[in-house]
Symmetry: C2
Subunit: 413 residues, 2 copies
Amino acid sequence: MKKNVLIIGAGGVAQVVAHKCAQNNDVLGDVHIASRTVEKCRKIVESVHEKKALKVDGTLAAHTLDALDTEAVKALIRSTGSQIVINVGSAFVNMSVLSACIDTGAAYLDTAIHEDPLKICEAPPWYANYEWKRREECARKGITAVLGAGFDPGVVNAYAALARDEYFDKIESVDIIDVNAGEHGRWFATNFDPEINFREFTGQVWSWQNRQWVSNQMFEVKKVWDLPVVGERTTYMTGHDEIHSLSKNLDVPHVRFWMGFGERYITVFTVLKNLGLLSEQPITTAEGQQVVPLKVVKAVLPDPSSLAPEYKGKTCIGDLVKGIKDGKEREVFIYNIADHEEAYKEVASQGISYTAGVPAAAAAILIARGDWDVKTMANVEELPPRPFLGLLDRMGLPTCIRDEQGERRLHFA
Amino acid sequence: MKKNVLIIGAGGVAQVVAHKCAQNNDVLGDVHIASRTVEKCRKIVESVHEKKALKVDGTLAAHTLDALDTEAVKALIRSTGSQIVINVGSAFVNMSVLSACIDTGAAYLDTAIHEDPLKICEAPPWYANYEWKRREECARKGITAVLGAGFDPGVVNAYAALARDEYFDKIESVDIIDVNAGEHGRWFATNFDPEINFREFTGQVWSWQNRQWVSNQMFEVKKVWDLPVVGERTTYMTGHDEIHSLSKNLDVPHVRFWMGFGERYITVFTVLKNLGLLSEQPITTAEGQQVVPLKVVKAVLPDPSSLAPEYKGKTCIGDLVKGIKDGKEREVFIYNIADHEEAYKEVASQGISYTAGVPAAAAAILIARGDWDVKTMANVEELPPRPFLGLLDRMGLPTCIRDEQGERRLHFA
């Protein structure tokens, strides 16, 4: 049993995590939120109070923190008595926060892979470049570190584990499909941190095919799917975190990721990329100023959390799994449908932040309860999926399936 | 009679001006080139020597100069003994350079209007915001200051003056059409300084219609023309310097400017503009760095002068003039066709720089000779067009006409 959570980060996902932790503070204990800009943490605290989200009276506090500074993270973990750290800060702080957890004995969890600011789309598997290098140390010291516990990666990894455990004897392929059929009404915006969003797509696209890493270009491989609720949608093969753990942890020949993109996104991406404005490498202006173009693009784009009030429509994210069960070929699609307006009503966030933040809070609850307090480093597919999916069902992210019997909601009693 | 020229600026246009001044140094005397980055001046000097462009033995020298610093400009004018200053530097330095000329008695000429870095598309007429405020002073002190002596503005103003003097009793409309039918082979590039290029189009489009200023949005008004040599071309109504003097100096109800744009330009412009990346106002990144987005866009785009070696195809720029002659309606199109490859062969520049730079050198020769040494400030349409067009004919920019008798080259004996 662990308690008291420290949330690192104060963006859209942190907002959702804070609301969900507050709603479950009878289990989680104190809730602390820390980021570089304490003002953003204070706004989240206010928002939680506005929604009267705290289940029981308790601590909810904002802190200033440079999460790249391991000693500062350690000091805050200790001073707040936090036993669980939910890292939903920038993708650049995973390793410094993980170090702080290892040194203090706190459990660690995050929702996205570590990145080096000056590198993109490194050699696969990505987890082996950073996180997995600390895996043995976590096991030796009994540190619980759950990697990639958002929706994708996260819930989709649990869907794959569920498919493996209950729907297949042998899996041939896992195609993860992520479609946002919502409309934010802006000319252009990304649904999460533009810097991280674009970094996902500016390098090569890694996929796992025939048990090998295959490299493609972004927008090179296109596939149209007919999906529940959101209907026919165009997606493109995309590099994504979960391929880099599922390829190792599941004995599966094909793991691919498909993301839905509209024409507008493709146009904007193509222009910015071809002009060199998505580069993570500094350039020098005629005036001699050193600037990273991608950080300028981030600065001019709408803050993703500002999209929430006007966001309408639904997301559909899931795993299309093909394989053999009882000697017969089968195909199941395990998925969730989330609604932007409902997310905003509940936690004042848009649906993309909601789908990423709720699982992180659920994972924290599972660590607090012990179900997932595994005293080692684990990706989500290595952990029991049922407690996670059962909790998500009650926390706002129900799991559905489409198989030979049609579409229906799954229940995890 | 004036002699010794100081060229301010070291971009693509300065390169052409330097070559053309060198080719005419028997008239112009010493040739000096100055810019913030002396290395760029030195490269131009080298290029002139490579082409053996100096007509007679003489001085050709490179200097470092901050052209915003009037005292520094004055000192350089004096130390070089320059009596003619050709300002082809950034659009932000006109007024500081003009001040230096007024104080030292040197003749001034430029190819584009003054701009304030933090303002775009100010109230019309643009010349009244800056240059014309010094007009009386120039007249009083006998300073020759020729404004806008590139191609457009510049040669197109002379075409309008020629039409007024020789082809019409009364002009109804002047439509200036600028089409670059060349191909540089890059995914995207601007043909001159991207910062100045985009600044032309991010604000409102001012045109002179029914003797009034009319405001439109960029890409709002489209017109397809069938032009000599380059054929059918799509253009858009655009704000441009020459409208702001011709509307005052010509007694004409309509003066409009039309620029040709391809689909790629429109897509890139639309994305950058809608995202806020063409803004001339500083923004702050998440890391707290103050940056002007437009300067970052400029920094990532190809240097326009780097396009020259691969540039192929032709430009067509001219004035479509409608009005009355001898009681009858008529329409003439006075124009030039320039060729990118020929420009590169002669002066190692692309055609856009060539069309802007050759007229500036021609204007300097006219000042040196006395034809245009008018001891006051003047826009090109206020000066005799025949000596200018005759000189241009011999310097590489022949004038053609399309009228009732078809298309033919004009001769200025």
